[in-house]
């Protein structure tokens, strides 16, 4: 197949990938979009085979490795529980990163195969592109591994900070640039390995100081990196499909990070530099412990809800941890039978990744037209009878509006406090991730339900 014809097919697959993302603008067109994505991928792979035209023994091995990976991927995709989606996505990002690194290594060791010149004499432009792809790929890989470990709970979600962290990171980042420059002028393979090693190291160091609840930003950011890595390799291979895709994924991840940061009213750098809330914890929790709290049981909650005419449910990460989405849906079904209007309100940063809560509710068969985003529903709290907060905390804290001293001041919150009454399922009075107390717990019209989210929801359903 001539290079021009294959280039046109790569362009087509790039366009299909654009359509795949375009489809996600509404749930109705999303499945079709996914189909376009698959089609684009099939075209890209087929064209690559045809353009090489080498169907020797090597070809069989390509198919074998493709099949091995495919089977593993398919197995994971069917087995993974929806609550583990953030870990899965982080894991997948690490694979894209590592694949980019491997392709770059391969191109560096055998530049002839890629038309990039010969060993020790690789075209300068290609070498720069390759170094960028490899370096960003390595950062994506090690960063995603840390994100994965933190989300999985293998590594503590608490930020890990040490003295001199920021100067050290800055030093490594500068040395990446210097090594890349030296690599391009000397073509030394030692420098190539050093570049990879320090890139792995910086990926690791960049993510360890970031805490668990900032994971939505981290995952989006790594999503973006995986795109830039792919684009870097795309330039090396002079492949349009890869360049288009890399740019799409890169900007997609960047936009998601921006949305997540805005949801917390924090700047991107503030999140990346990490260590949020660690200092405030001790002072605020001490002087507020004496306040009275009204706590209730499932019967009280059921009574309140039975007499309501409209209820808004506010899910958070706690719901995912307790796997309470199905129990919640059963409770809502019972409420609906009593002609009570129930809607769901989702804060942009609820959960551990963008859209996490929406997926869990969808899994529990909650129709997506009952689920609303912050801007859509926030005015409705004033007219609702009951707000049912399940596993969320900081995103409802009125201190974000009233207390300029609070670390979350300015963060957009769900106006739960405007409801006639608030039900709060929580395991204890402990402050949320930000380490600050929530005034909502001590309000006259708040009833605290101290229990596991799933157990409590099931008990309420029994009492309805």
């Amino acid at each position: 197949m001539s290079a021009n014809i294959s280039a046109i097919f790569y362009l087509i697959s790039g366009v299909l990938f654009i359509l795949a993302l375009r489809g996600l603008s509404s749930p109705e067109t999303a499945r079709q979009g996914n189909f376009f994505g698959i089609l684009g991928m099939v075209i890209a792979i087929t064209v690559t085979f045809l353009s090489i035209g080498n169907f020797s023994t090597g070809f069989i091995y390509v198919l074998i490795f493709l099949l091995i990976g495919g089977l593993i991927g398919a197995f994971i995709a069917y087995k993974i529980p929806m609550t583990a989606m953030p870990e899965l996505v982080a894991g997948f990002h690490s694979l894209v990163g590592l694949a980019a690194v491997f392709v770059a290594i391969s191109a560096f060791l055998n530049p002839e195969a890629f038309n990039l010149g010969s060993i020790g004499n690789i075209k300068i432009g290609s070498l720069i592109e390759m170094s960028i792809g490899a370096s960003v790929g390595a950062i994506t890989f090690s960063g995603s591994i840390i994100a994965f470990l933190k989300l999985q709970g293998i590594m503590s979600g608490a930020p890990i900070t040490f003295k001199g962290q920021h100067p050290l990171n800055a030093l490594i980042l500068i040395s990446i640039v210097v090594v890349t420059y030296l690599l391009c002028s000397t073509q030394s393979s030692n420098l190539f390995w050093i570049l990879l090693a320090i890139s792995f190291l910086i990926g690791f160091l960049l993510i360890i100081p970031i805490g668990g609840a900032d994971m939505p930003v981290v995952i989006s950011m790594l999503n973006s990196y995986s795109g830039w890595a792919a684009a870097g390799i795309g330039f090396t291979l002079e492949n349009t499909a890869l360049i288009i895709t890399g740019a799409l994924v890169g900007s997609s991840g960047a936009i998601l990070s921006y949305i997540m940061c805005k949801g917390m009213n924090r700047s991107f750098f503030n999140v990346i530099l990490g260590g949020f809330g660690a200092t405030e914890q001790s002072t605020t929790s001490q002087n507020k412990e004496q306040k009275p709290v009204k706590s209730g049981n499932a019967e009280d909650a059921a009574f309140l809800m039975k007499n309501a005419s409209s209820i808004i449910i506010v899910p958070g990460y706690g719901m995912a941890v307790a796997q309470a989405q199905h129990a919640l849906r059963e409770m809502v079904d019972t409420l609906k039978k009593n002609d009570i209007k129930v809607t769901y309100a989702i804060h942009p940063v609820a959960g551990r990744m963008p859209g996490h809560m929406n997926v869990l509710l969808a899994e529990a068969n909650v129709p997506y037209d009952e689920v609303f985003e912050l801007e859509e529903i926030n005015n409705d709290f004033a007219n609702a009878d009951v707000a049912f907060v399940i596993g969320a905390n900081d995103v409802t804290n009125p201190a974000a509006k009233t207390d300029p001293q609070s670390p979350i001041y300015g963060m957009p919150i769900l106006d739960v406090e405007k409801c006639k009454s608030v039900l709060f399922i929580k395991r204890s009075l402990s402050p949320g991730y930000a380490g600050i107390d929530n005034d909502l717990f001590y309000k006259e019209n708040t009833l605290m339900l101290f229990s596991d989210a799933k157990k409590m929801t099931e008990e309420i359903t029994k009492n309805l």
Binding site: Y78, N223, H356
Partner: protein, 102 residues
């Protein structure tokens, strides 16, 4: 003077960033998780490079250092392609509208 082909690729890259910007802003927030898994899947089109690398070995030695990295990259990317598209499919199937007869 002729224009370096790199400039054309750069143009495609820059324009694609803009397309990405507008397309992603129009994605509904409730589908942000499927957006991440599908971007994951499509960025694995890097498999194209992996295949070239894997097939670069000559007929006497299919496995040299370069092609081994290629084969490994093929598997990694394939995990992502299959895993990414299938898990997206699985998620999207769960998004349902309210049934009207209820």
């Amino acid at each position: 003077m002729e224009i370096d082909p790199f400039i054309f690729r750069l143009s495609i890259f820059i324009l694609s960033i803009f397309i990405g910007y507008y397309v992603v802003w129009s994605v509904t927030p409730s589908l942000h998780t499927p957006l991440m898994s599908v971007t994951n899947a499509i960025s694995s089109v890097i498999i194209v490079g992996a295949i070239i690398a894997g097939l670069a070995g000559n007929s006497e030695s299919i496995f040299n250092t370069s092609s081994i990295f290629g084969f490994l990259a093929i598997s990694l990317a394939a995990i992502n392609i299959f895993g990414g598209f299938l898990v997206t499919q699985r998620m999207l199937q769960m998004y349902k509208k309210k049934k009207k007869n209820k």
